[in-house]
């Protein structure tokens, strides 16, 4: 078969330029660059022809074009340097992307979406894992897309460059006291577990099996539950707020210590009143934490369930007392740490400035 380029080998150059044009951005500069590249190639051909003393054939022209490079590669060199996110923004983009995907999205799916899915599927673990992973996968794509889009807009609008030009050295954060800084990993883990705990607490009224397990069919929550549920939820929310503040304000070096102490005190007060309330009997029956469900009251196994209820209530009371003792010990440790920190801060502030700098 005879092609047009075998009849006119120079047509290869036009085909080559056409292929380069395809990959170049469509601007006025495009035609200018192509004309110049075409002229360069024709000059090379002309020089070669002078050197060899005959018109170049298709193969010889192909050789020149090959040396010049594949159209896409040549276009990438000729065209403007293009990037979605430039080298200035890229480190920030990478940091934000990691934060969003690893430290926000994954914990949210593990501690909130997962348990919520588990509750909605009535404890079907296999289905829950599959659904959660599927949602996490698509969520990660959407989150990564949104972050990339935001940074691409920032890149186009030069927003960060403007901010970077206006930076003031005096606005730099003060030196961190490394020994007191709570590790980010520890704080994130705490936050994750606390969120998980709160979600679990919020799901309990509708899904008692989350604490009672299969016994949820024959047991129900006792009076203490109804009295202390809201304060417990509020305390759990306060604990989450504390973790979030530690994460968001890592330079507040004293906050983790004194807030831990306040948290311990609040827990102590709550547990104290719970133990006190657990000592009361209702109509001669002692079932502060769990009771036999109304549906099985008339059943033949009522006596057996009552025994289980008694055991669970005693176990609940023991757990509360142990918690109270544990929180007391924890509170003493936190008080000691806070006092130590205050002493150290005082000695640092009394030290001459020249020694502090060392």
């Amino acid at each position: 078969m005879t092609t047009s380029s075998s009849r006119n080998p120079l047509e290869l150059v036009d085909r080559y330029l056409q292929a380069v044009r395809f990959w170049l951005p469509k601007t006025r500069r495009q035609e200018d660059l192509l004309a110049e590249l075409g002229e360069d190639l024709r000059s090379q051909i002309e020089d070669k022809e002078t050197e060899l003393g005959h018109a170049l054939g298709k193969d010889e022209i192909s050789e020149i074009l090959k040396r010049c490079g594949a159209p896409m590669v040549v276009a990438s060199r000729l065209g403007p340097r293009r990037h979605l996110i430039g080298p200035t923004l890229y480190p920030i983009y990478e940091f934000v992307l990691k934060m969003v995907l690893l430290w926000i999205l994954v914990p949210v799916f593990i501690f909130i979406v997962g348990p919520a899915t588990l509750a909605s599927t009535n404890g079907d673990w296999g289905n829950t894992v599959l659904v959660t992973l599927g949602n996490l996968w698509s969520g990660a794509f959407v989150a990564a897309g949104v972050v990339t889009l935001v940074f691409a807009i920032l890149e186009r609008t030069h927003a960060i460059a403007d901010i970077a030009c206006k930076w003031d050295p005096s606005s730099l954060p003060p030196l961190e006291k490394r020994e007191r800084k709570t590790s980010m990993f520890q704080t994130i883990c705490e936050l994750g577990f606390n969120v998980f705990g709160l979600v679990w607490l919020l799901l309990l009224p509708q899904h008692p099996f989350l604490i009672l397990g299969p016994a949820a069919a024959v047991l129900k929550f006792g009076p203490i539950w109804h009295i202390f549920y809201v304060p417990t939820v509020l305390l759990a929310a306060a604990v989450i707020l504390r973790s979030a503040i530690i994460l968001g304000r890592p330079r507040w070096t004293s906050f983790p210590l004194w807030s831990q102490l306040v948290q311990a005190l609040l827990t102590l007060i709550l547990v104290h009143y719970m133990i006190e309330a657990a000592g009361h009997t209702v109509q001669g029956n002692w079932h502060p934490f769990v009771m036999v469900a109304d549906s099985v009251r008339s059943s033949e196994q009522y006596a057996r369930f009552s025994k289980i209820v008694a055991i669970v209530n005693v176990a609940g009371l023991i757990t509360l007392v142990c918690t109270w003792i544990g929180v007391c010990i924890g509170g003493a440790v936190h008080t000691w740490e806070l006092l130590k920190y205050i002493r150290k801060q005082r000695s640092v502030s009394e030290r001459p400035a020249s020694l502090q700098a060392q």
Binding site: R29, L37, V74, R77
Partner: protein, 116 residues
């Protein structure tokens, strides 16, 4: 994963590229004290031992022109349209400064190499 020699070659190529980048602009500006079009400029540089491909030269010429160091003009020569470049008055000033800087760097480097 690249092996040791591949990695060394890659590092060398990257450093060579960095070294060449600044030198190319200086060489192009110097060559364009005389008016030339793209191909003859490439040839002149190659004849002096500084090979430069089309994909590097033409964007460089555009950049230098947009910085006001070069002026260009499309003109017909030998029945073909060619874009001729030459140094602008600003380009001449900058080139003198750059050459001075180049001499200083060269002297310092020679001194450092002698001491080593």
């Amino acid at each position: 994963m690249p092996n040791g020699s591949q990695a060394t070659t890659e590092v060398f190529e990257n450093l060579k590229l960095e070294l060449r980048r600044g030198c190319l602009a200086l060489a192009v500006l110097t060559q364009l004290r005389t008016e030339r079009y793209g191909y003859t400029l490439r040839k002149a540089l190659a004849d002096d031992g500084l090979e430069i491909d089309e994909g590097t030269l033409y964007p460089l010429l555009r950049r230098l022109e947009s910085q006001g160091l070069l002026v260009s003009q499309w003109r017909e020569e030998d029945k073909r349209n060619k874009r001729f470049y030459r140094l602008s008055p600003v380009g001449e000033q900058i080139l003198e400064q750059l050459l001075g800087e180049w001499q200083r760097i060269n002297t310092s480097l020679s001194k450092i190499l002698q001491e080593a």
